[in-house]
């Protein structure tokens, strides 16, 4: 049997709590000591779907504390519908933690976190870690309506400054969250972002405009989640520390390679992406 100092392995867990912070949004908490212990901010897990659906579901690690970790997901398709049916006491098999999380080691003292929709699931642990290290953390959180802005209090209680935006103006700024970010009175010195692809592209633009670095947690359809199938790639510049061992190709004048979002990511520096 392989012995793993990282705690990467298959975890047969039990659901210890379940809540629905918004319509079609579910948080499942499980007892999983190894997972909770080894998870780094921004990493994800693969959740084995109950009822025989094909392919595990990639979900961010929402909370990780003591014996417990949780996932937060939007009920969008077959597999998340099946996951949403699970109740306290049910078993859930999870592999992970997987991927590289956010790079927080040399984080500056003022960090902005941008979350869109269920992207919020992948940033709470980063906020907690940064706050613990004495950072000032601003959360820019966007959603369609007020009801979909879930768990803002968790972030506020942890010590974040929360700036919210909704498409319909039902809470906070009316418009997209990146507009709110672009108007920030005191811009942060590093951005971490997770959300739908158009939001991430906008974050990259704003970051370039105000000239600060940004780390983006990408989403792609996964199959294996561990780097085995090359299904989840994104082109990045060859010089990146995360570039896989591959001969380069030329795209728009730079040397690029297709990196796996699950293995070399899911977090990439905005300036490295050639998407």
């Amino acid at each position: 049997m392989p012995t793993l100092s990282t705690g990467e392995r298959v975890h047969v867990t039990k659901i210890v709590d379940r809540r629905t912070p918004a319509a079609d949004v579910v948080v499942l908490g499980v007892r999983a000591p190894q997972l909770a212990r080894f998870a780094k901010p921004g990493q994800f897990v693969m959740v084995v779907p109950p009822a025989g659906e094909v392919a595990s579901v990639a979900l961010g690690i929402y909370e990780a504390q003591g014996d417990r970790m949780s996932v937060l997901f939007f009920v969008s398709g077959k597999r998340t519908t099946e996951l949403a049916r699970l109740q306290e006491g049910d078993e859930l098999t999870i592999t992970g933690p997987l991927g590289n999380g956010f790079f927080l080691d040399d984080a500056p003292s003022e960090v902005g976190i941008v979350a869109g929709g269920v992207g919020v699931a992948s940033v709470l642990t980063s906020a907690q870690e940064l706050l613990k290290n004495g950072c000032r953390v601003q959360l820019y959180y966007g959603a369609r309506t007020q009801e979909r802005l879930v768990d803002m209090d968790l972030f506020a209680r942890a010590g974040c400054e929360v700036h919210a935006a909704t498409d319909d103006g039902s809470f906070g700024y009316r418009g997209v969250v990146t507009d709110l970010l672009a108007r920030a009175a005191r811009p942060p010195r590093l951005l971490l972002a997770c959300g739908p692809s158009p939001m991430l592209r906008a974050v990259a633009r704003v970051a370039a405009e105000i000239d600060i670095p940004a780390q983006l947690s990408l989403e792609e359809t996964f199959a294996c989640g561990v780097g085995g199938c090359w299904g989840c790639v994104v082109p990045i510049v060859r010089t990146s520390a995360q570039a896989p061992s591959f001969p380069p190709a030329v795209l728009g004048g730079s040397d690029v390679v297709n990196a796996r979002v699950c293995k070399e990511g899911p977090v990439f520096w905005a300036h490295e992406l050639r998407w």
Binding site: A55, G77, C224, V226, C229, W230, V233, A249, V257
Partner: protein, 321 residues
């Protein structure tokens, strides 16, 4: 207490001895290392590596994957670093795998296959070669080989001439008559056949009005295609004498048994690893248990035994077909 014999799961595919009759499908399992945190590789037969080509390939644009009912479509497009880089940077690492390592070769001409096969087979780290002549996800002639009996014969002969190592030829289900192709591959010198690669398919985004795969079309895998794959194995087994590596939608020991009974000497697991990485070990345990329960000494005792017919089949006088 009675000492129970442990059933023998070992099989021989050409010159390749496998401790377990379970391979991990090409393109689904990286080089094996990616799955080591979850599975004891010493308890599987071997890993078929991701297909490698002569020149490097960046593969298809994303999305490369789509989930479909009981299956998935993929269109990776043979992303790989090309044989030169592969030999220089990757192959040496395979020596440490605690299972057999089977190289997979893809190409766009007969010459491509011969060149890559020769170079790859020359390496000790590679225990056998699979010829992927059936990849449905490349724009040009990727799959044409396995869809044409004459091209199949030519490419297999050319590869055969380059190596004495076990040569497994991977067939496509996207043909009118797979048995005819199988016979050509056997006659041209294949040691074994991998049956089958993915089934061509497509999915459309009905909101955005465009195909859901960057490559437009892709290959369907997973339980959805299992009945198609079982039949392909059954038909090929009746057409050739060389061993078959059955694959297509195997998730459980019951699924695996269907393939052995249809005529496969070994099986390959691809998509099921994406659902649950414990599948390969679960299947090996399940096969042992099944054989023990039936007091069979070896997995080889059930290969091709699904032909006992029906007790209750009736024949009507005067019925024509």
């Amino acid at each position: 207490m009675v000492t129970r014999m442990q059933p023998d799961l070992s099989v021989r595919i050409g010159k390749l001895d496998l401790a377990y009759p379970t391979l991990m499908g090409s393109g689904c399992y990286g080089s094996g290392a990616e799955f080591e945190p979850f599975v004891d590789l010493a308890r599987i037969g071997g890993v078929v590596l991701k297909s490698v080509t002569r020149a490097p390939r960046l593969g298809n644009p994303t999305p490369r994957l789509v989930h479909t009912p009981a299956g998935m479509l993929n269109a990776i497009g043979l992303q790989n670093p090309g044989i030169a880089w592969y030999l220089a940077h990757d192959v040496a690492k395979f020596a440490s795998r605690p299972c057999k390592v089977i190289g997979s070769v893809a190409g766009f001409s007969v010459d491509d296959y011969a060149v890559v096969c020769e170079q790859l087979a020359a390496r000790d780290e590679i225990h056998a070669i699979e010829l992927n002549i059936s990849c449905p996800n490349v724009a040009s002639e990727g799959e044409t080989f396995a869809c044409d009996p004459r091209l199949t014969a030519r490419v297999v002969r050319a590869a055969r001439a380059t190596t004495g190592k076990t040569l497994i030829v991977k067939l496509s289900p996207n043909v009118t008559d797979i048995a005819a192709i199988a016979r050509e591959a056997e006659a041209a010198g294949a040691d074994a056949l991998a049956v089958v690669n993915t089934v061509r398919g497509m999915a459309i985004d009905v909101d955005a009005w465009h195909p859901r795969l960057g490559n437009v079309t892709g290959g369907l895998s997973g339980p959805a295609i299992r009945p198609i794959a079982v039949l392909a194995v059954y038909e090929v087994a009746r057409a050739v004498k060389i061993p078959i590596v059955g694959q297509g939608g195997i998730e459980t020991v019951t699924d695996a048994l269907e393939f052995f009974l249809a005529g496969a000497s070994a099986i390959s697991i691809g998509t099921a690893n994406f659902t649950d990485p414990r599948v390969p070990e679960t299947i090996v345990d399940g096969l042992s248990e099944y054989l023990a329960r039936r007091k069979l000494a070896s997995i080889r005792d059930i290969v091709g035994r699904a032909n006992l017919g029906f007790a209750n089949a009736y024949q009507f006088e005067g019925d024509e077909g």
